[in-house]
Amino acid sequence: MEFNVTLLGQAITFAILVWFTMKFVWPPLTNMMEERAKRIADGLAAAERGKQDLEAAEKRVADEVRKAKQQAMEIIASAEKRATQIVDEAKENASTEGARIVADAKGQIDQEVMRAKEALREHVAQLAVVGAEKILRKEIDAAKHADLLSSIKAEF
């Protein structure tokens, strides 16, 4: 144990070393480390934000897809409904048209029948008149018995 001027020398060295550390070592390194920590924190926060954004976007996309699907289904359903409606209408139209055609045809047929009956009646009347003429040539005057003949004709 011998104290001498080495103590002063060491103390001066120590003081200068502390000053040097305070000036050139500690501040730049700690500043840089803090900056790095901040940057890492920022990066993590940004990543988190990005993840949330992505989740929101995915949700929105799913929503849109679901909506579109629903719309498509609605469109298909309404189209089917419309199609059955059209078919029904067509069927109805066809049946009414058919009925009309049938009715027309019936009417025409009735007319034809009436006409044929008329013609036949005429014809039969004439034939009857001819036959009666032939039978009653002498006794019956066509002009005299016209009323009778026409009443016979109506009975046919």
Partner: protein, 272 residues
């Protein structure tokens, strides 16, 4: 052999003094302590300043990461213990830790390495008799080095106290703590007692700091010297375990000195 061993040990425990005469006084220098610690100071300052200058934010190298982990260690301790704001304490703690660690680590060099080199240089280039060249390679086994640091810390303690509490506040604390009374007569009676307690407490800090470090390293060095006296084939049996154990002591003593400095300084700024 016995006289040889004593001579060997004494030779190893003698400093390289700038004044070789036995009647030297205070104004003589331990050249070995001073130069080795100065060299280590340059090593520390050089490495750390270089890392600080080249520090890369994005792509730190291995050395930078190593330096950063030391700074992180010191910074954590300072932030946990010292709650006031100070620009000095963290760099002070870092310097103490690294410098003491490096000085202690000189103990890991073989005990004869630096002394023999010094003897060879002294003998070859300066024509000295080899036996009269002395060299001790561990600066922290010199009380001058340890007291230089602990007394600097002591001055910091006083400075921090005065800065935090004012000269009056600190003086008042010296007289009124640890024994406190509201009775004015009692206060006057207790004042000298308090003052003595406070002085002892204050003085104990630098003395315990420096003697703890000095004692550990001096003992470590002495044991290495004793191991060096064994036959060369048997030295490793004791030398290896002691060296491995000494790694712990080297680091621990540097850490303890740093921690106690932080604790003392935080006590200095906090009110009793």
């Amino acid at each position: 052999m016995a006289s040889n061993a004593i001579e060997y040990i004494n030779h190893h425990l003698t400093f390289w003094n700038s004044d070789p005469s036995p009647a030297r006084g205070f104004w003589s220098l331990h050249v070995d302590t001073f130069s080795v610690s100065l060299f280590l100071a340059f090593v520390f300052a050089g490495v750390f300043a270089m890392v600080a200058r080249r520090a890369s934010l994005e792509n730190p190298g291995k050395l930078q990461l190593f330096v950063e982990s030391i700074i992180e260690l010191v910074d954590t301790q300072v932030k946990e213990i010292f709650h006031a704001k100070s620009k000095v304490i963290a760099p002070l703690a870092l310097t103490i830790f690294c410098w003491i660690f490096l000085m202690n680590a000189m103990d890991m060099l073989p005990v004869d390495l630096l002394p023999n080199i010094a003897q060879w240089i002294g003998h070859t280039f300066f024509g000295l008799e080899a036996h009269h060249v002395y060299f001790r390679s561990v600066p922290s086994a010199d009380v001058n080095a340890t007291f230089a640091m602990s007394l600097s810390v002591f001055l910091c303690i006083i400075g921090f106290s005065i800065k935090a509490k004012g000269l009056g506040g600190w003086g008042k604390e010296l007289l009124t703590a640890p024994f406190h009374t509201h009775n004015p007569i009692g206060a006057i009676i207790l004042a000298p007692l308090n003052f003595i307690f406070q002085l002892v407490e204050l003085a104990a800090k630098p003395i315990s700091l420096s003697l703890r470090l000095f004692g550990n390293l001096y003992a470590g060095e002495l044991i290495f010297i004793l191991i060096a006296l064994l036959p060369w084939g048997a030295q490793w049996i004791l030398g290896a375990p002691w060296a491995i154990f000494h790694i712990l002591i080297i680091t621990l003593q540097a850490f303890v000195f740093m921690m106690l400095t932080i604790v003392y300084l935080s006590l200095a700024v906090e009110a009793h």
